[in-house]
Amino acid sequence: MNKLGHVINFTYRNKVKNKSFRWTTLTLAVLLLVGLNVPYFIQLFSGNNGEDNMKIGIATSSYNEIATQIQQAAQKQQTLSSAAEDTATNTSSQAKDTQLQWQAKAESESVLRQQVEDGSIGGYLLLQKPTTGDVAFPTVTYVSEKNNAKIQNLLQTATQTAKVQYIAEGKLTNTQLEQIGTPVIVNQTSIDDLNKSSTEPKENPIKSNTENYILVYLLMILFFFSLTITGNMIASEITAEKSSRVMEILISSLSPLTQMFGKIIGVFLVGLTQIASYGIVIAINLSLPYYQEVLAGFDLHVSNLSLNVVGFGLLYYVLGYFLYATLFAAIGSIVSRTEDLGQAIAPITMLTLAAFYIGIFSISNSDSLLMRISSYIPFFSPTTVIVRIGLGSMPIWEIAISIAILLISIFFFGWLSARIYRTGVLMYGKRPTLKELRKAMKSYKL
């Protein structure tokens, strides 16, 4: 269809040539550039938050033995974890963990409190007699100005070790104690990954989820934002054509279906151009030495990405785009003035928001009933299915049904939207009610 090409070409060229479009794209690219480099500059100015080492004290009246045990356990744990070189967990970041330096002798609480206030120590442990229960083991409180979850975690494990030691009353050997002190790690992996790693053994099967997690997240954000931007573009372009009455010439020149899909595809390409330009900015940034270091710290590998997620992600992205785009086009066609557009597209914006949030909030619970149902709802499936494919398990037949439903919906809503479009573009004045629209639609043939 030659005319389709003309419409796509005209839409694309005019949008990309448009000054305001160029400025928005450029501004966003610059913001992205700055945003991506903010962490680098913050680190440059403040170093590692100045917390490579932190002094810590212990205040206790009658639990000296337990205090020493906690201290020893904590120290042992820190030496172990720094020696382990972060291979077991992926929680480590580029910044080194803060090393605790314990004060040699126990001081009274008032002295330590003073020291925390004037900043000579980072915090102290307060061992107190418990108000209820067994008085033999104290309640432990960590007093500090800074809220550091890692240190709290460390102290908790150390206290746990000390408690075991106390209960065992020396019946355990040092090696056993050490083993108790080592934090256990529960890895999570899916059956797919497990099967894969049995045929081609991987060093860390668990790793593959991190990349997919990021990918799924990115795909959802990409879907939501590009849909919002391009959807608005489609609707406002159509409304503008209608309010400038060029529409009357257009509809007498070519079929509304060609016109609508030409516009949708043209704007889709505009959206891709925009995404590509941001992609280039991100790629350039990530290739900077600073980011290379950070990425190396995350230990991410492209090879760990599931091809399923990439493939289905793109498929659902495109299908989802077309489903929503036809709706945006239909709305654009029934509004006469650009000022009224925002209100009119609100329902569709709500749908995209719902799709986005169902996906985001279920990212850690990808096989819930909500997700299973949403995978069959065409408006939500573009986000929910990639979450399920990427992070949960979705049988292939479920995917097939979901895609079939999505395709049928595209045809149905495409057809409906084309009819609304055909009718709407000739209705001026106030926005027609559904009833008026349905009535008017009867007098048009496609």
């Binding site: 005319k3 003309h6 419409v7 005209f10 060229r13 005019n14 448009n18 054509e241 400038s244 009455r245 060029v246 529409m247 009357e248 010439i249 257009l250 509809i251 007498s252 020149s253 070519l254 079929s255 000739l426 008026e436 009535k439 008017a440 007098s443 048009y444 043939k445």
Partner: protein, 301 residues
């Protein structure tokens, strides 16, 4: 085979009848006038001719056959509120609109240049519509309607908003197109344009055709009821002549305007005037279309 035939068209719109039993025929090389007050159904009729909406009853035939897709390339349309993209370069959008009407890029560019030269508007080629005056925007809208050499041209209020110089220029162009064999359906409020351009016409009143046919014939069926007379000296005894309804006093140039209801009264007026001295001007006015229009549309309102 006539390029355009409307046969007993009926169109209902939101519970009302927008066009009621309209029939008309436009020949190649003819400008057909469609007259009517606002809301009389002119634009609806044109949209039906363009195939944008379909009549509920009756049929529209193009060269003897019903609407078909290829007509998109054969019809040109200038909408009442002419529409072009305000922010797109003239050359870009007119070539685009030409392409949508089935032209190649090269042909569209050539045709555009030819038309811009015809309208003496070559300098607007790289301008945007919003930078042009209203009259020039209208010329561009007209070019958009004719760039693809349509054989059926539909002009909705083509002259509104143009200054006299441009009205003349556009009139010339439309007459040229007519002489080239284009069938033109033309709507307007301005009766003098119809009188100058059209051979046949229809007056629509509240969706119904109330007066239809050849302009000459229509005028002849309406009696001549006005006499203009200029004499050197004031005239007395006019009111004694039978058939005179009312004599308007002389205007600054010494002209009488005499309303009559019998045609022979005119001859008696002339005789009377000649008896009294020199007659400088004598004319039996035929009714203007405007008067006919007001008579037909204005009554029973």
């Amino acid at each position: 085979m006539k390029p355009l035939v409307l046969n007993q068209i009926i169109k209902h719109y939101a519970g009302k009848t927008a066009v009621d039993q309209l029939s008309l025929e436009v020949e190649a090389g003819e400008i057909y006038g469609l007259l009517g007050a606002n809301g009389a159904g002119k634009t609806t009729t044109m949209r039906m001719v363009l195939g944008l909406i379909y009549p509920d009853e009756g049929e529209i035939l193009y060269d003897g056959r019903p609407y078909r897709k290829e007509l998109q390339h054969k019809m040109g349309y200038l909408p009442e509120e002419r529409g072009l993209y305000p922010k797109v370069k003239i050359s870009d959008q007119l070539v685009y609109l030409g392409q949508l009407r089935g032209m190649t890029h090269k042909d569209a560019v050539q045709s555009l240049h030819k038309w811009l030269e015809r309208f003496d508007a070559m300098e607007y080629l790289d301008k945007r519509i919003e930078e042009l005056s209203k009259g020039n925007q209208q010329k561009m809208g007209f070019i958009a309607a004719v760039i693809h050499h349509p054989s059926i041209l539909i002009l909705d209020e083509a002259f509104s908003g143009l200054d006299p110089v441009n009205v003349e220029m556009l009139k010339e162009v439309i007459q040229e197109l007519r002489d080239d064999g284009t069938a033109i359906l033309f709507s307007t409020h301005r009766m003098e344009h119809v009188e100058e351009l059209c051979r046949n016409m229809t007056i629509l009143r509240r969706s119904k055709p109330v007066l239809q046919g050849n302009l000459r014939d229509i005028k002849n069926t309406y009696p001549r009821e006005k006499v203009v007379l200029r004499t050197a000296h004031p005239l007395s005894g006019l009111s004694d002549i039978e058939g005179i309804v009312h004599v308007e006093p002389q205007d600054e140039n010494g002209r009488y305007l005499i309303h009559i209801n019998q045609e022979q009264a005119a001859q008696q007026i002339l005789q009377l005037a000649m008896q009294h001295g020199n007659v400088e001007q004598f004319e039996i006015k035929e009714p203007t279309l405007n008067e006919i229009f007001i008579k037909v549309v204005g009554n029973n309102e």
